[in-house]
């Protein structure tokens, strides 16, 4: 078990020392900043009038209060997370092929599956740290703006939705790892992310989003009041997609010929 934690700590160290972690943090910082800006615009109609178009768009976020702000952050995590968490997954797995370091991980004195499992744990940790960062920055920005309707219940509910949205997005991002392995780099997984992003929008619009795992996190985050569209099969499909991604990745590491 100690050896497994060593592997996890090595994976965390590699991620911590990379620039990618700061890039993703920067990308996710945009969520509370932009959300806060919309809230500020909504809260100050004079300012909204002066900037015209943006003021009109800011109306979409609803009222300027804590529930709306937290809802906006959850929606941002659901849609942006699909890209950012997918990007993290793609980097954590794909970099071993791009940097050609994967061969140094194959003949090691522990089961080969330990490496991808450690990578998945690192991705989960990384993703939740980013969500925590969004929550923390959102809290500071919301307090600075002076949003109304603050209560512990509102915050508990907000954190619950943000956490579950993160978890759902992480689940549907696991197939990205499989594509990084079979594609031996970043191109295939990033292609997969783009395709699923597009398809999730299209399928959600035609009304079948609850049956398309990659649309479920956005629906759960209650984009346009869609939370009630979800059912047990939605959760089942998300879990199935997640498990298939993990199983495919572990299977690839365990059984596929490694030519790099």
């Amino acid at each position: 078990m100690k050896s497994f934690f060593n592997i996890v700590s090595v994976e965390i160290y590699k991620s911590y020392k990379s620039k990618t972690i700061w890039l993703t943090a920067l990308a996710f910082t945009m969520l509370p900043v932009m959300g806060g800006f919309f809230m500020y615009v909504l809260k100050n109609p004079d300012f909204a009038e002066r900037i015209g178009l943006i003021g009109a768009k800011a109306q979409l976020a609803g009222s300027a209060d804590w529930p709306s702000f937290l809802g906006l952050l959850a929606q941002g995590i659901a849609v942006g997370g699909l890209f950012v968490y997918g990007f993290i997954t793609s980097w954590v797995f794909g970099r071993e092929y791009t940097d050609r370091t994967v061969k140094d991980l194959l003949a090691m004195p522990f089961p080969r599956s330990h490496i991808p499992i450690a990578k998945f744990l690192t991705i989960i940790l990384w993703s939740f740290v980013l969500t925590a960062w969004v929550i923390g920055a959102g809290f500071l920005i919301g307090m600075t703006i002076g949003l109304p309707l603050w209560s512990t219940a509102v915050w508990q509910d907000g954190i619950y939705v943000l956490s579950v949205t993160t978890l759902l997005t992480i689940f549907v991002s696991t197939p990205v790892a499989f594509f990084a392995c079979i594609g031996k780099g970043y191109l295939a997984p990033l292609g997969f992310i783009v395709i699923t992003l597009i398809l999730s929008q299209v399928i959600a619009v035609i009304g079948y989003g609850s049956y398309f795992p990659w649309a479920v996190p956005a629906l759960f985050s209650n984009i346009s009041g869609t939370g009630n569209l979800l059912n047990a099969s939605s959760l089942f499909l998300v879990i199935l997609a997640g498990l298939l991604g993990v199983a495919g990745t572990l299977g690839f590491w365990r059984y596929a010929d490694q030519h790099l």
């Binding site: 592997i7 194959l106 080969r112």
Partner: protein, 311 residues
């Protein structure tokens, strides 16, 4: 004692046999030189040895254990470097080695400084890997392979990118590891002279087939030795030498080649004979075949220009 063994190891890639029924044996303490042209099947064999790819048929054994993707227990004993070494570019040399130490579960904290010293990487230990020269990247690759003090080392082209001084250092290191520490070393190299100097056993692979496996002493017996002679009339000289019972052939660059053991052992007799016949040699010397010439001869590429062969 047998350390590495392959039995009829075969690998097909889309119907093409990359490795074809290769059976080899490496004993403890051997420095096993694995020679072959590019694409001969060296790296594929090494990858199968390390469980990175599965054989189409046949098997590999390390310390008597059959190798498969899940045979992780055996890798405690093995250090390896396959083809060009790579490391995490954003990390320093020391950080890369510390990661290997941690992932391999090496507890001794003096391991990394020691290996840095041994591979003379002191000057670069805080340098990011992306800024290393190819030679130093090669040293780092070898350092990673040696870090856990393995009994068996599998090195694919370990002297690639090293300058002559670096090659000598690595040669000495390999010899030291085998002779002083009893390690078994499986080494593939395109520098045949290097293999000839270090290996205790040599295998030659060509078109996926192992065409020769022999001990260094046996190699010396297989290398051909020729007495080479040049005179002012090569045609006439050839005639009189043949008449005298010597096996003479026309060699390159106007030389005659005599293969008789007696002539090779006593070139003075041949010299006297030619002087007495009125055709004294303008040049006469014994030439021993080196590993490169031997390699080309037994792979059937004798006479092919150096430019046509990339070893």
């Amino acid at each position: 004692m047998e350390t590495i063994r392959t039995e009829n190891l075969t690998k097909n890639f889309q119907g093409v046999k990359a490795v074809d029924h290769v059976s080899l044996t490496v004993d403890q303490g051997d420095i096993y030189g694995f020679l072959g042209l590019n694409g001969a099947g060296k790296t594929t064999t090494i990858r199968m040895l390390l469980g990175m790819i599965r054989p189409t048929s046949g098997a590999c054994y390390i310390k008597g254990r059959k190798i498969a993707a899940n045979s992780h227990h055996v890798w405690h004993h093995v250090g390896y470097m396959v083809e060009t070494p790579y490391a995490y570019p954003e990390l320093t040399v020391k950080e890369n080695l510390l990661l290997v130490q941690k992932i391999r579960g090496v507890k001794d904290s003096s391991t990394v400084p020691r290996i840095i010293n041994r591979l003379q990487l002191n000057k670069y230990e805080h340098k990011k890997v992306r800024h290393l020269s190819m030679g130093n990247a090669q040293r780092l690759g070898i350092a990673k392979a040696l870090l856990h003090e393995p009994e068996i080392l599998v090195l694919d082209e370990p002297t690639n990118g090293l300058d002559p001084a670096g090659i000598v250092e690595i040669r000495q290191l390999i010899q030291d590891l085998a002779h002083q520490h009893g390690k078994t070393i499986f080494i593939s190299s395109h520098i045949l002279g290097e293999i000839a100097r270090t290996a205790t056993k040599i295998a030659i692979i060509d078109d996926g087939r192992l065409i020769q496996e022999l001990k260094k002493e046996e190699l010396d017996y297989h290398l051909s030795v020729t007495l080479k002679v040049k005179t002012r009339d090569v045609k006439y000289t050839e005639r009189i030498l043949s008449h005298a019972g010597y096996q003479v052939t026309d060699g390159k660059e106007g030389y005659l080649e005599i293969k008789n053991r007696e002539a090779i052992n006593h070139p003075d007799i041949v010299n006297s004979f030619l002087v007495n016949a009125g055709y004294p040699p303008t040049k006469l010397f014994v030439e021993e075949e080196d590993l490169e010439a031997y390699f080309l001869r037994i792979t059937g590429r004798e006479g092919v220009s150096d430019h046509e062969i990339i070893l």
